[in-house]
């Protein structure tokens, strides 16, 4: 073989590898954004750091598992049901635990959410044991191939649904009456209340919406990976990283942050070290903090 040909071959190979990493990152970024948006909405509107976010994510995955595997419910129906149950669970958490703490400081609600998180995770462990479960999906097993790139139908579907849900959330926040109430509450809770916005309802709805998105993310990713009770921890830590990256409370920030994190992880583990994959998000947080402590898309907060 001529030396030149080998060179070109290697370069082509590494370009393929780069493109494959990029494609993986885009697909992954969609679900990260979905996780981040739910968390950032809840923080922005309610000023609650939601530690149960990861557990609602795991809940979505377990509902999916329970419906599809033992009960044999249609995959797509189960997906809708998982999201709906996630919304209900979110509303229940808000009404049960948070509605009474509306004027409490951020640390108090945080402690309550940590308590709820521990209780929920161990309930999952008790109900489903620590053994990993996997969910069958109805997609063709052969991946979609395009040159040297390939992606499974299941992941493509996940990306499509995640994008739809993100777009739907944008629409809801920016062009509906509910969205208007949300934005008003976000800007100034007291004024919004004076102008007739039912803050308690906005809170419940926000928490339910955020939880629905988390449950949807869990239900989407459960079939891609495996379902274990601790799956929520990693998801929650990623969601926190995304939200800090984007700036607490910013929906655009969470979306962009989701993709940035996905690219950082995929490229970092592809070209630096695969072991530090999960560290990328935190390293980004620390870098951001050094440069711009309030995140990339921070909303101006007045210090009074």
């Amino acid at each position: 073989m001529r030396p030149g040909a080998l060179d070109r071959d290697q370069r082509r190979f590494s370009l393929d590898q780069l493109l494959q990493h990029g494609l993986n990152a885009i697909i992954l970024g969609g679900t990260y954004a979905l996780l981040g948006i739910g968390l950032t909405l809840i923080f922005g509107i309610m000023k609650v750091v939601n530690f149960t976010h990861g557990e609602v994510y795991a809940f979505g995955a377990y509902v999916m598992f329970a419906l599809v595997m033992p009960l044999g419910v249609n995959f797509f129906v189960a997906l809708v049901l998982a999201m709906a149950l996630g919304i209900l669970l979110g509303a229940a958490i808000e009404l049960l635990l948070l509605s009474r703490l509306r004027d409490a400081d951020i640390d108090t609600t945080m402690l309550v959410m940590i308590g709820a998180w521990i209780a929920m995770q161990n309930t999952e462990q008790l109900a489903w044991t620590g053994v990993a479960h996997s969910i069958k999906n109805p997609f063709p097993p052969e991946p979609l191939v395009w040159g040297a790139l390939s992606v499974s139908w299941n992941r493509l579907f996940v990306f499509a649904v995640a994008s739809l849900l993100i777009a739907g959330t944008y629409y809801l926040v920016n062009w509906t009456k509910f969205g208007k109430a949300l934005r008003a509450t976000f800007q100034d809770r007291d004024t919004a209340a004076l102008m007739g916005v039912r803050i308690d309802r906005v809170n419940t709805a926000t928490f339910a919406l955020g939880s629905g998105l988390a449950a949807a993310a869990g239900a989407l990713l459960g079939p891609v990976f495996v379902v274990v009770p601790t799956m929520g921890d990693l998801a929650a830590s990623k969601a926190f990283a995304i939200v800090i990256l984007g700036g607490l409370g910013s929906v655009v920030g969470a979306t962009v942050g989701g993709f940035i994190l996905a690219f950082a992880e995929e490229l970092g583990s592809g070209y630096i070290s695969s072991g530090y994959r999960d560290a990328m998000g935190f390293v980004l947080i620390i870098l951001i903090l050094l440069v711009r402590p309030t995140g990339l898309f921070a909303l101006k907060e007045r210090i009074s």
């Binding site: 590898q17 620590g130 097993p141 495996v226």
Partner: protein, 387 residues
């Protein structure tokens, strides 16, 4: 300040009775401590081993126990974590006062508890771990019935030429099990003229391997040697298919549960090779088919997952080995059991279990020489490859 100390004393007074009133178990049964990963990254395998151990316990007790007493397993969850494994041994030896232990599944977990065995002078039968370090570290309380990675790699050797392996890449967990196995296989393959490509590692808890698989794809080998437990293996096979990684996948370490792979990875499991230490699809090839049959029948009768058969037998054999030692020693005391283990002869599923000496002279550990089998999955069925 002063007043608050009064509170502390009172609080202690309230809790002291709770602490000291530890339940005294059944006096007459002989206790056997078991430390297995019932939760965490190795939960599936750990639970299978525990199920196998319980089958052995019931079978032995149904036959009248040993030395006229029943045996009682005390199974503690080491949560797939080495520090937790140490605390289970602490609890089993100090609180339950068991004279002998079985555990702790993964090599890292076993290595973690070994200093405690020496500290408290309690022997342990190792049912799964494969790292060479375990029996060469000079711990005279270790008796391993599972094969080492080196034994496994040596057994695999004839197949290198048969399968036509030219260049192999590695993917293994970054723990003693994965690293030990990777090193032994790489050594064996190099000695047989096979080129070794990339060696990628993964955290035992990782679920997304796209980056590693992309690198392995870029390396361009014809074979991928994977060492991990069945949970990660399932995901790796699925994701390798998604990324069109068209290489021969060989999984080693024997914790690969081919049946579970077929069930959970589906088509992605086809064309893969696996080393197992017990092939339940053709028990007749084992040294003691009647023992294997008895174990399999009971396993199925209890409705356990058939995917766990390749794992549960380890616990079954481990308990029978311990009971053989108790019978030989005539009493359930640690030092007597340790001495007795050197002489046991058990007809087990691993083969005929007996211990040879390994490690530095004077502080040798016991090592069994079990049989190794290679199987392959085609069209959702497991078939045998000659070894």
């Amino acid at each position: 300040m002063s007043i608050q100390f009064g509170r502390i004393i009172r609080t202690c007074a309230i809790f002291a009775p709770l602490l000291f009133s530890s339940a005294a178990g059944a006096q007459d049964a002989i206790k056997i401590g078991v430390s297995e990963p019932l939760t965490g990254a190795f939960a599936a395998s750990g639970n299978y081993v525990a199920q196998g151990a319980k089958i052995a316990e019931d079978e032995i007790n149904a036959a009248g126990g040993v030395l006229g007493r029943k045996i009682q397993l005390i199974i503690e969850d080491n949560k797939s974590n080495p520090t937790e494994a140490v605390s289970t041994v602490e609890k089993l030896t100090q609180k339950d006062k068991v004279p002998i232990l079985m555990g702790a599944w993964s090599s890292t977990l076993t290595l973690a508890v070994m200093p405690k065995l020496e500290e408290y002078g309690v022997p342990m039968v190792v049912e799964t771990s494969s790292s060479g370090k375990i029996t060469t570290a000079g711990n005279p309380f270790i008796f391993r019935i599972s094969p080492t990675s080196e034994m496994e790699a040596k057994a695999f050797q004839p197949l290198v030429a048969k399968l036509g392996i030219k260049k192999a890449d590695f993917l293994f967990t970054n723990n003693d099990f994965g690293i030990g196995s990777g090193a032994e296989y790489a050594k064996m393959l190099k000695a047989n003229g096979v080129e070794v490509g990339v060696s990628e590692t993964m955290d035992p808890k990782a679920t997304d391997f796209s980056a590693q698989l992309a690198k392995i794809k870029a390396s361009g080998g014809d074979t991928l040697i994977v060492t991990t437990a069945v949970e990660q293996l399932t995901l790796i096979l699925k994701q390798a298919k998604d990324q069109q990684l068209k290489v021969r996948v060989i999984s080693c370490g024997g914790s690969n549960s081919p049946d579970q792979l077929i069930e959970q990875a589906g088509e992605a499991a086809n064309g893969t090779f696996h080393t197992v230490f017990f092939p339940p699809w053709f028990p007749e090839v084992t040294k003691n088919p009647d023992v294997a049959k008895r174990y399999m029948d009971e396993w199925k009768k209890r409705g356990h997952n058939v995917g766990g058969l390749t794992e549960g037998f380890r616990g079954y054999d481990g308990i029978f080995t311990i009971v053989a030692a108790i019978k030989a020693a005539g009493k359930a005391e640690p030092e007597a059991l340790r001495a007795a283990l050197w002489g046991v002869q058990v007809k087990g599923i691993y083969g005929d279990i007996a211990f040879i000496k390994q490690g530095p002279a004077g502080k040798e550990s016991g090592q069994n020489i079990p049989s190794v089998h290679l199987v392959t999955i085609t069209d959702g069925k497991v078939s045998k490859l000659g070894l």
